[in-house]
């Protein structure tokens, strides 16, 4: 029986590991009962291995030698003169320091572009080309920018992040002053390695997929494919980080610096606020009678005359293993607000061992927070988180949790956070 295009696509999504249990069951049923379905799947498998085989052979194919007969033709002198001119121009270009560029390919939320000459633009559009010396900032926890570095290489910064293009010899240089970056450095003809400087490390990669979370005293580098070379700026020590490994690069020499295997994902996370390591944005408040740990929201200017109040907590910075988002996962947060009004919970997600995926937010109405000034505990199921962009699926199930943030739009709410937990589905759910 012939399959519809939708059915064919269902098989491709199955092979891409994108289906939920219901759709997997549908695939299994189709394969059991439909010879056409099995023929399509077998054809895809054969084509996949033959594509790889043909590409493998092509990459090892020697270039055929050309035999040129020496025949004098006057027009060749003109061609030779033109070629000499081109060579001269190429020499001039080659001796000029190479400059790389990055094009904004996707953008969401408040961002700021600061050109090398100091001009500032608060509105950045898709297609904007960043050149050496230019800076781009994502200004809110919910913002992100994707950059196309040419030749299949891509970079995403998200949350509160600041990235500048640097002029580094023989490299495509970047400075990540703070924030989160996901990079895919693809192999392509003539492409230079990517070099990323953070306050504590230099990360270089020729072909790799990796992510970097950086703050003033620490950078965390996780490599998911390929290899990245990481230098600790505190002492010049260097390590190669291969796929599935990570390194924490501290400004302090006394901290260990080595490549370690990435831990296995877990399905829950309790941000250890008491240890203080998970909070990446906010201010510590003195303990009071009811709470020994209080993280106050910090003001964040996200545009002209617009300030929000944010506390942000990072999974990686809390030394947790990767946290897998499952169907039925829940976010439970304890805190207080001094006035009545809504708060917003947000989560940043990335693919397991992969690139940035997207951001999801949930609005918690004032009614759910109880009486103003009294501590509240709110549990929001994953199903209530909505995607921040149209292209995202309705749910981030199967992704990895990168961080959680809590926002109040009002200063007088004096939002403070006492506990943040990401919980697995309830037993029996």
């Amino acid at each position: 029986m012939t399959l519809s295009e939708e059915q064919n696509e269902l098989f491709l999504r199955h092979l891409n590991g994108q289906l939920g249990p219901d759709e997997e069951a549908k695939v299994a049923d189709l394969l059991r009962g439909n010879a056409g379905a099995r023929a399509f799947l077998r054809a895809v498998a054969e084509q996949a291995v033959v594509v790889a085989d043909v590409e493998r052979l092509d990459q090892h194919k020697p270039q055929p030698a050309k035999v040129v007969t020496a025949v004098f033709r006057p027009w060749k002198w003109a061609v030779a003169a033109a070629a000499a001119f081109v060579l001269l121009a190429a020499f001039v270009i080659a001796t000029t320091p190479p400059r790389h560029a990055a094009k904004v390919s996707d953008i969401l939320g408040p961002c700021q572009y600061i050109a090398a000459d100091g001009k500032v633009r608060d509105e950045v559009k898709v297609g904007t080309v960043l050149r050496v010396g230019d800076t781009i900032r994502t200004r809110s926890s919910s913002a992100w920018v994707k950059l196309d570095l040419n030749g299949g290489s891509l970079m995403t910064i998200a949350g509160r992040s600041r990235l500048r293009l640097l002029n580094v010899d023989g490299r495509r240089g970047f400075q990540l002053a703070y924030g989160n970056l996901w990079a895919t450095v693809a192999q392509s003809a003539g492409a230079k390695p990517v070099s990323i400087q953070t306050p504590t490390a230099t990360v270089e990669a020729k072909v790799a997929q990796f992510d970097v979370e950086t703050h003033s005293m620490t950078s965390i580098v996780r490599v998911n494919s390929g290899t990245a070379n990481v230098v600790r700026l505190a002492d010049g020590q260097a390590v190669d980080i291969v796929a599935d490994h990570q390194a924490i690069v501290s400004a302090r020499r006394s901290r260990p610096f080595a490549s370690a295997r990435q831990p296995e994902p877990v399905n829950e996370w309790s941000c250890r606020l008491i240890a203080g390591s998970g909070a990446v944005f906010g201010k510590w408040l003195p303990p009071d009678k009811k709470n020994s740990v209080r993280l106050g929201a910090n003001p964040l200017l996200i545009g002209k005359k617009t300030t929000i109040f944010v506390a942000n907590l990072s999974v990686q910075c809390s030394s947790s293993p990767p946290v897998l988002i499952e169907s039925g996962s829940r976010v439970r947060i304890r805190g207080t607000t001094r006035t009545e009004g809504p708060v917003y919970f947000g989560i940043t997600t990335q693919r397991i061992k992969g690139v940035f995926f997207g951001k999801y937010t949930a609005k918690v109405e004032a009614g759910a927070l109880g009486q103003a000034g009294e501590p509240w505990q709110v549990e929001v199921p994953l199903s209530q988180f909505k995607p921040k962009a149209k292209h995202l699926p309705g749910s981030p199930v199967g992704m990895e949790l990168a961080d959680i943030w809590i926002v109040s739009p009002k200063e007088n709410a004096e939002l403070e956070i006492h506990s943040v937990k990401f919980l697995p589905r309830e037993v029996g759910q």
């Binding site: 299994a28 033959v50 594509v51 590409e55 299949g152 891509l154």
Partner: protein
């Protein structure tokens, strides 16, 4: 070459990684050579090769973190049986036809297949690299696979020579 493609393809259905599938085929071939005369027929050899490739594939999956969901073994057996049942004479021709059809593809289409199956990128990464929507990538891949399937059938129907 045709049998090699099929055993590799059967392994690929388990591991979804063309390079791992090739390694598995090499291991299976090595094991087959050391087993030598133990097979009564080509059919028995192929049947053993499919089972061994599947087992090696499942072992490979166990060693991976976040491995893809593997199809039920009864379905894999069904697929392998259909592969084994195809007339041996046709197999080499199909394999060459597929290679010829790939050669005829436009550069853009071949690039898409290369990114997905040779570079081993997930569809989401391919979409990101090409600045396309994920749905569009699935659609293009689906049409490409169908087109290649038809191309092979057309080439096999043409009289030789």
């Amino acid at each position: 070459m045709g049998q090699r493609d099929r055993v590799s393809a059967a392994a690929w259905l388990v591991v979804r990684d063309a390079h791992a599938a090739e390694d598995i085929f090499q291991n299976v071939a090595l094991k087959a050579m050391t087993k030598g005369a133990q097979f009564e027929s080509d059919g028995a050899l192929m049947s053993w090769a499919f089972i061994t490739a599947r087992r090696e594939g499942i072992d490979w999956l166990r060693r991976q973190k976040n491995a893809p969901v593997c199809l039920d073994e009864t379905i894999l057996e069904l697929l392998e049986k259909e592969w084994a049942d195809e007339a041996l004479g046709q197999v080499g021709g199909r394999s060459q036809a597929l290679r010829d059809c790939l050669e005829d593809l436009p550069a853009k289409s071949r690039d898409l297949l290369k990114r997905r199956y040779f570079d081993g990128h997930a569809c989401e990464a391919v979409a990101e690299q090409l600045g396309a929507r994920l749905d569009a990538i699935y659609k293009r891949l689906s049409r490409l696979h169908q087109a290649l399937k038809k191309c092979i059938e057309t080439k096999l129907e043409q009289p030789a020579g």
